[in-house]
Amino acid sequence: MINWIKGLLVGALLLPFSFENGEDIRYFQSSTIPLIDSTDLIINTINDSVLSLDIKQVTKSDGTPLHYFIELKEGVCFENECRPLDILLYWNITGRYLGFELLDGEFLSKYDHEPFNYKEYEQLHQLLADPFLPLGNYTFEELVKRPDTVSQSLDAVSGATMKDVMEYIVPGAAYTTHKLWNIIHGPIQQQVSELTAQQLNASLFNKILQSSDQSDQTWALERIALLWDLDNLVIEVLEEILIYGEHFQAYLLLKSLSSKQLESEHLQLALFSILGKVDYSIENMIFDKLLEAPRLHGSIVGASIPILKALSGPQLGKLLKVFTHHKVKNAALYQALSEMVPNENSFVERQLLQYLENQAEIAD
């Protein structure tokens, strides 16, 4: 058997398993945290209550999760002749599909037990890696018009496959494709994701954010609130995402920050300091997040005074709402705002006057 090693990152990164006998088939994508030293690994078994399978979590000795896998054993039959399928399926720590392995001469076969060829393994790997395939919308019975009452464990019977999803299965292997895709993108995915989330710390968070995979970054950003404390390094990374990252990632980051995290003066100042460096809509979100902070630090008020005149009318309005919400009383601010009246823009002037009048009433 040829040892095909494909994917963005070869299976050599999964060194806990010694696959040097030339009999194994392995297809892998890049994992968030690559393995370097195979001697520094621990495999924990987690019982899966949903599918009654053992999920193995592979970690470093320091507890850092690396990936998950299961061993799937299925009967694959054709014309009453069955052969067992034994395949290892891998998930990244963020829940995305990582790869599969067939050990010790095991191979995948089509409806007539003809072994997959190189291109078919490649195609299967690509299909399994695509979370958007419609395979989850159909049962196997819907996918294939079955000619008789053969067992569900039959692989790709020769009946017609639904035209719309034909391109999303390996020809002749509808059962294998459908089965594996649905396991990979099924409940185990959520389960392993939650297991990693339970172990999330600043160090792991930063590592996941450095992943080149967009979905890994999304996974991490959605879970910022799980971090007890945002240290300087994390805040620095977050700033970079806000300034240089994609719009959606910046949105997700801000959306996910918790009220408790926003209490940090360092974080408030970091967010405020990037005004003028990020998209307008992200700036608006920053003003909105400052509203959610339990309190506004005086340093933010001080930092805002020099930029008041540079803000657009709507953004000035947002900032004034932040000040009003946090009941800011600051003479220098009041003075700076007073100096902006009269204003050539009637919209801006109305907002200024409204704020100043409210302040005057509070002072009274």
């Binding site: 995305r96 959605e222 994609e246 959606f248 809509s281 909105d288 657009s312 709507p314 309005g317």
Partner: protein, 459 residues
């Protein structure tokens, strides 16, 4: 209580009510008299729909005295009254391409409804991930209220139930006569922005309009419930009804997606019947389109309820109006062509982006779609918003100057929002510089748009 005593007590109570001050408040109404009003303003926005709302807010925030007349009862147009409450597309190829006031409103509606945004980092491939996955679901009632709040905050004088009947340009100013419930209004303004979608104001003002012989159908939007799609035996239901039933089941605003990882939120409740030849350019034609849409839906409902498993189908919601895709377009200083659109041509006066497939609903039976190539995003030049031979007059929305295929993509909501903001900024600066919008200094215009959150091509 004895019967006699009870009757006696009731009598006393009745007498008490009859003699209360409340009973004396009735007055005879004065004979009907049309209330004649006069309004002097800087910028008049005609139409408070998808583009008009944004134009009004931008004009107000730009410091202009702004009046908006809307023939209906709320703001938002197609997004709200029409029920196409998933505006888009604001993002292309991993980047935001339309921002500004439209996005601000959408975000406020999303946040106030605890909705989540689609994952814009996942780029549609037009096979397993279709372009519409990037459209953003909003609660239409909420959107209408937020739009109204923002208008009021920007100082916009909102005038519902009014529509223009005559528009004349004299001595550098427009005189617009409108009628509404019991009111006749004469509005004197410096600039007009026609956001009617039908170029109604442009037509009244005497500018040339263009129209296809055969226009795309309108959609009457609704939502049905009371059945379980998964348990239906589709073999017993004619195939032509499957998509009606399935579409509605896919669309469930009760379902909230917890994660954006390789995921999108569900789209908004959306089901529709086509209304062929739907036209909203006159009250008579719009009435016809509404009646046909409702009749068509009733017929569909009655039919669906005859299918097994569908006996208890209920109409959960139907929008008040048939949403319109295509009527009239202006003949502008520049006509955006199909080739301009699909090649992403950038003009010197491009003020806003537009991103959508060419999307022509043909005869209500099929849709001609043509996707933009990777990294291509179309743009909208100022000249396409200005009718030929006009002064101090702009349009925003689907009636911009464009050929039919380009228009089939330009007409979508995010693009219309971008146009609304661009047109209003041009009108504000035209007043400040005492010039017609075509002569506004472009660098200043682009700068103003950017200051207000607009995303300006190559600026």
């Amino acid at each position: 209580m004895k019967r006699r005593k009870m009757i006696s007590t009731m009598g006393a109570l009745s007498l008490g009510i009859a003699s209360s001050p409340l009973a004396k408040s009735e007055e005879v109404k004065a004979p009907y008299k049309l209330l004649e009003k006069k309004t002097i303003t800087d910028i008049l926005i005609v139409g408070g729909g998808t583009a008009g709302v944004i134009a009004a807010i931008q004009a107000g925030r730009g410091g202009a005295k702004t009046t908006l007349v809307e023939s209906g009862s709320q703001l938002g147009g197609t997004t709200t009254t029409g029920g196409v409450c998933f505006p888009g597309i604001f993002h292309a190829w991993g980047k935001q391409v339309i921002g500004g006031i439209g996005w601000e409103l959408v975000m406020e509606a999303v946040n106030l409804n605890d909705d989540i945004l689609p994952n814009f980092s996942i780029v549609p491939n037009n096979t397993t991930i279709r372009h519409w996955r990037h459209q953003v679901t909003v609660n239409p009632a909420l959107y209408a209220m937020i739009a109204e709040e923002k208008c009021v905050e920007a100082g916009v004088d909102l005038r519902y139930y009014e529509t223009p009947t005559s528009i004349q340009f004299k001595d550098g100013k427009w005189t617009v006569k409108t009628v509404g419930k019991g009111i006749s209004n004469e509005i004197i303004c410096k600039q007009i922005i026609d956001c009617t979608g039908n170029a109604t104001a442009a037509s009244i003002a005497g500018f040339k309009l263009l129209r296809e012989e055969d226009t795309q159908p309108g959609s009457f939007v609704f939502r049905i419930g009371g059945y379980d799609f998964d348990s239906l035996d589709l073999d017993k239901i004619p195939k032509e009804y499957h998509s009606r039933l399935r579409q509605n089941m896919l669309i469930n605003n009760e379902v909230k997606v917890e994660s954006s990882v390789n995921n999108f939120p569900p789209t908004s409740p959306y089901n529709y019947v086509y209304v062929h030849g739907a036209d909203s350019s006159t009250s008579e034609l719009h009435t016809k389109a509404n009646i046909e849409g409702r009749a068509s839906l009733l017929k569909l409902l009655r039919k669906l309820r005859t299918f097994p498993g569908c006996e208890k189908i209920k109409l959960m919601d139907a929008r008040p109006e048939t949403a319109i895709r295509e009527t009239y377009r202006i003949d502008g200083f520049y006509k955006i062509t199909h080739n301009d659109y699909v090649s992403g041509k950038i003009f010197e006066d491009s003020l806003s982006y537009s991103f959508y497939p060419i999307d022509l609903h043909r005869n209500g039976k099929s849709i001609y779609q043509e996707y933009l190539k990777e990294d291509v995003v179309a743009t909208i030049p100022l000249r396409a918003l200005i009718p030929k031979n006009s002064q101090n007059f702009l349009v925003a929305g689907r009636c911009l100057s464009s050929d039919r295929l380009a228009n089939s993509a330009l007409r979508v909501q995010a693009s219309c929002m971008g146009m609304g903001q661009a047109a209003a900024a041009a009108a504000v600066l035209a007043i400040q510089h005492n010039v017609t919008p075509a002569d506004v200094p472009l660098p200043e215009l682009k700068n103003m748009l950017k200051e207000h959150g607009g995303i300006v091509p190559n600026a």
